[in-house]
Symmetry: C2
Subunit: 109 residues, 2 copies
C-alpha cells in the first residue's frame, strides 16, 4: 500500500489512492468535511474502533500530504484542531460520491 502510483496515464486512479491510503484516511477526511473542525479527542470519540496510535499516524500522514491542517493552541491542557486544507477541499466531490454510493448500497446489503 505504500509504493507509488503505477502509471498515471494508464490509471489516474492510482495516484489518488497513493495520496489517500487506506480506509481510515477516507473516513477522517469525511469527518473533517462534514464537521468542518474537529479536535483530536472528538475524532477519537467518533471512531470508537480506531486505536490511539492509528489515529495519530493517519492524521500525520494526511497532514504531510497537505490535505488537512493542524492548528495547535499552546496552552495547558493542549488543544489541537484539525480541518481540511484548500487541497483537502478539492477532495470533497470524491468524498461526496463515495458517500452517496455507501448510502445507496449499504441498505440493500
Amino acid at each position: 500500500m505504500k509504493s507509488g502510483p503505477i502509471d498515471p496515464l494508464v490509471c489516474p486512479i492510482s495516484y489518488t489512492v497513493s495520496i489517500v491510503r487506506g480506509k481510515w484516511q477516507w473516513v477522517i477526511l469525511w469527518l473533517l468535511y462534514t464537521e468542518k473542525v474537529q479536535r483530536y479527542g472528538e475524532l477519537k470519540k467518533r471512531l470508537p474502533t480506531i486505536s490511539h496510535k492509528m489515529l495519530s499516524q493517519q492524521l500525520s500522514s494526511l497532514e504531510q500530504e497537505e490535505l488537512i491542517h493542524r492548528e495547535e493552541y499552546p496552552q495547558i491542557p493542549p488543544k489541537v484542531e484539525y480541518s481540511l486544507t484548500e487541497k483537502g477541499k478539492t477532495m470533497i466531490p470524491v468524498l461526496e460520491i463515495m458517500a452517496e454510493w455507501g448510502r445507496r448500497y449499504s441498505s440493500q446489503a
Copy 2:
C-alpha cells in the same frame, strides 16, 4: 482494514471503503471499467508491480463482493475473463471522479 464499517449514518463512506479495500482493488476496477474485459494475464501485464498472489486475492475479493464477474472458459490452456458486474458498474461515477482528481493533481505534484 478488514473490520466492518463504523456507522453508516455518521460516515457512509466507511461502507464504501469496506467493500473496496486497498489501492489494488480500486486500480483493478478502473482497468476493468476502461478496458471492459480483461484476461488474468492482461491485468497482470498492466500491473507490473503487483504480485501473482495479490492479484488473485484481490480479484477473488472483488468477485465475492459481486463487483466483478469471472468468466471461465473450460479449455486447455485455461482462459478466464474478468469484467464489471452491474453492481460493479454502479461504481463508475466514483471511479471517474477519483480518476479526475488524480489527473488534475498528479501533474502539479
